[in-house]
Amino acid sequence: MNSLINIQIGDSLQNLQLPPVSRMDLIKYSGASNDYNPIHTIDDEAHKAGLPGVIAHGMWTMGNLAKLFTPFYEEGYIQTYSIRFRNMVFLNDVITLKATLKEINENVLTFDVAAYNQHDKHVIKGNVIFIKYK
């Protein structure tokens, strides 16, 4: 989809499958976001916290999911982006991003958005309200 002009309820933006989550992805995100909680980068710290290994920052996944909307900033902008964190993301998980149009109200588009893993389990889930410029 190159434009949101003719989007219909039930239509999805192009799904996007991310490369397997790598430690370097999380190291980079730690640096870029100033979130240095070591459960995201250092195995020992993750183990101490009772986790089987390091987990991705929830905000890393949420940041990734928003990119489905990046091609459309000439047409409008994200007014609301709301997410519930449902399941943890581990190294080597393969995450798929998805957005489906749920409602249209004049220039207000409401999408269901989600990221799910290779076991078809939702890791994050929520909504994007996209306002089209008039």
Partner: protein, 149 residues
């Protein structure tokens, strides 16, 4: 003990939306689109400059809420909501503050869970709201006991 913080807020902190920080962030979320990082592309866009990704406010400084000390470990990020009046522009100055919006405890299978809602907000130089965000943090009973210790 967390209930008494409801309504308290930080002193506003001046933030400048740095080009390099936006680029680094966009790259880190795998979204190095020219609308975020290419200066000429930004100038030619409807925004006349580059903009920042919607989750970028996580990078900004919102100041400390006096007396509120949360543990660095053991918090669970339950929910996150961003609301925008318009996208954030590279180069602009934003005054940011955070506020404790709510705190409730609910009984669960593993003891009582605390739900702390903190808002993080950004205003332009005239005091007009650009964005507001809400973070819901889940604090388990075990972590709360450590906070008291």
């Amino acid at each position: 003990m967390l209930k008494e913080f409801i309504g308290k807020q930080s002193v506003k902190v001046k933030n400048v939306i740095e080009r390099g920080a936006v680029k680094k962030f966009a790259v880190a979320i795998g979204d190095a689109h020219p609308i975020f990082i290419d200066e000429e592309y930004g100038k030619a866009s409807r925004y006349k400059t580059n903009i920042a990704p919607p989750t970028f406010p996580r990078v900004l400084e919102f100041g400390r809420i006096e007396g509120l000390v949360l543990p660095e470990k053991g918090l669970i990020h339950g929910e996150q909501i961003f609301n925008y009046e318009r996208p954030i522009r590279v180069g602009e100055v934003i005054y940011c503050y955070s506020k404790v919006e709510n705190y409730v405890e609910k009984k669960g299978s593993t003891g009582s869970m605390g739900f702390l809602t903190i808002s993080e907000n950004g205003e332009d130089v005239k005091g007009e709201l650009i964005f507001s965000s809400k973070i819901i943090v889940i604090i388990t009973e075990a972590v709360r006991k450590e906070m008291l210790a």
